[in-house]
Subunit: 280 residues, 2 copies
DNA sequence: CGCTCCGCGATTGTATACCATAAAAATACA
DNA sequence: TGTATTTTTATGGTATACAATCGCGGAGCG
């Protein structure tokens, strides 16, 4: 019930080996990893839940070895907390920190889209458009799961189009966090209001279409600005959901800051987007 | 052959009465992970080398289980390529991509330092200064290993001071890449010229001191600018080393780019640095 | 009545044996 | 003699058995 075909991270991000899509019979370890990962991202398993190895063994009908390997990989991804001799637990959302996420996204997303606007190849554009189309279809059908998934694939395709391995990896890591965070904005209540769900994501959809246009035309500045707009749009919605008090507890730590001086409006120069490597 | 000090005794079932505070755990899996990670980062094992599980078992006097767990963790970190049914190999540097690294660093180092300048607590500043002092000491002593290590700790402390989990994690991940890349700029040849080594890092040291000053004074703009200067300084040195042809092969892929239009000077606005959370 | 210490149970960490699979080699057939 | 197929073999993936560690609860003592 947890298998799909999209390219979630976890394996070699660059290598797209030969295909064996028909006989989708993943190895035990991979199966457990995918299933657990989906359950964690979809919040089927609540954050903070204790994950007992023996229980997972019974659930997935495998021995402890593949279970442990899956847990280790999930731990490296930040989805599972793994304390030595103390077992595993689903990572708390407080750790990932919703506010930090959108704050960082406010930088990462424009940067990534800037790079994509300047660097994307026609094939990249094609992929981006394809994933966006899937996302739009999911929105029209109020397909809860597809919305989350294809929105991930969409931004993942943009990450690929940035053609910078570091940015791609960092951005994709943040997208994983976003998967869980986005679920908070989609509590089960909204399932009863499919129309409202579609309406909300219709806004995201429209902004995303403009974003792709800017990227396709190579307009880096516009791509940055639209990416910022998109992030702010989503952030406002999710935060408003939180303020309603839905979903799991997300502790906002009382952080002591040295200063909170007003610094809005500072800028960071983006480096040259042209590569020095082409001449080598 | 690769261990510096402590944890090399493979079979010492002596009972340690109390605890070893925060020091290396004698756990098998952790030991293998640490050792392998060090060997990979220090380029003791060349990029691309095949890692045979049985060989590692003999080397570290453990069974395959902890070895496999260590390899999985290293794979998630991007230091090891793990192909199914094909074994493990040390990640190629081409994959991490030196050029991509400095390009991304040109953005994220100023961003991280900006956040640190605005958000760092006195305790953060204290930690940053302490690591910087260690770094300076290592430079003065031409301590090859300490230079790499404490420079990492120094920037890691800045990452902590940014007080944004996402930025902290992303920046720290890039620092791991930098560890290997920096080794390329320090080929064994320079060991014979300790003076030159110290001279080169003296420049890094001076810029780092200025960076800490800016962060301590909360001057975000200055911190950004100095961070950019520091990155460019290091990049120029490492790239020059590469052009000499030293070190391992670093394949600069002939990437097809859609366009290489001049976009230097574009800017990305940094978001507000003040947190909305303090009122909750 | 409370504190401490020891022993027990449960769970994680490690070792080893077994199975599946892919590269390699050898042989048989064209 | 070359190629294709089959067998071999080595390596990775999984299962299970064993050992170490931590938390907890009861008993003994202050």
């Amino acid at each position: 019930m947890t298998q799909t075909t999209s390219d979630m991270p976890g394996k070699a991000p660059r290598r797209q080996p030969a295909e064996k899509p028909a006989r989708a019979r993943p190895k035990g370890s991979q199966r457990v990893y995918d299933a657990l990962r989906y359950d964690i991202i979809s919040l089927t398993i609540a954050p903070g839940s204790i994950l007992e190895e023996t229980a997972l063994c019974r659930q997935y009908k495998v021995s402890r070895t593949p279970v442990r390997e899956a847990l280790i990989r999930l731990s490296s991804e930040g989805l599972v907390d793994l304390e030595p001799n103390r077992g595993a637990s689903v990572a708390t959302l407080q750790f990932i920190d919703v506010v930090d996420h959108y704050e960082a996204m406010e930088i990462f997303q424009p940067v990534t889209c800037h790079f994509a606007a300047v660097r994307s190849s026609p094939a990249d554009i094609k992929t981006i458009k394809a994933t966006l189309a899937k996302f739009c279809t999911a929105v029209e059908r109020s397909d809860h799961e597809g919305i989350i998934r294809f929105n991930y694939d969409f931004h993942s395709a943009i990450a690929t189009a940035s053609h910078n391995g570091c940015i791609e990896r960092g951005y994709r890591q943040m997208l994983v966090d976003k998967l869980r965070i986005a679920q908070h904005g989609l509590p089960s209540v909204t399932r009863h209001r499919a129309t409202a769900l579609a309406d909300r994501f219709a806004g995201t959809m429209r902004i995303s279409v403009r974003l792709v246009d800017a990227i396709e035309q190579g307009d880096a500045s516009a791509a940055e600005e639209i990416a910022r707009e998109l992030n702010e749009y989503v952030r406002a919605q999710v935060v408003s959901r939180f303020s309603v008090g839905l979903g799991h507890q997300v502790q906002l730590p009382t952080a002591q800051r040295r200063t909170d001086g007003e610094t809005r409006g500072q800028v960071v120069k983006l480096p040259a987007r042209t590569r020095q490597r082409s001449g080598a």
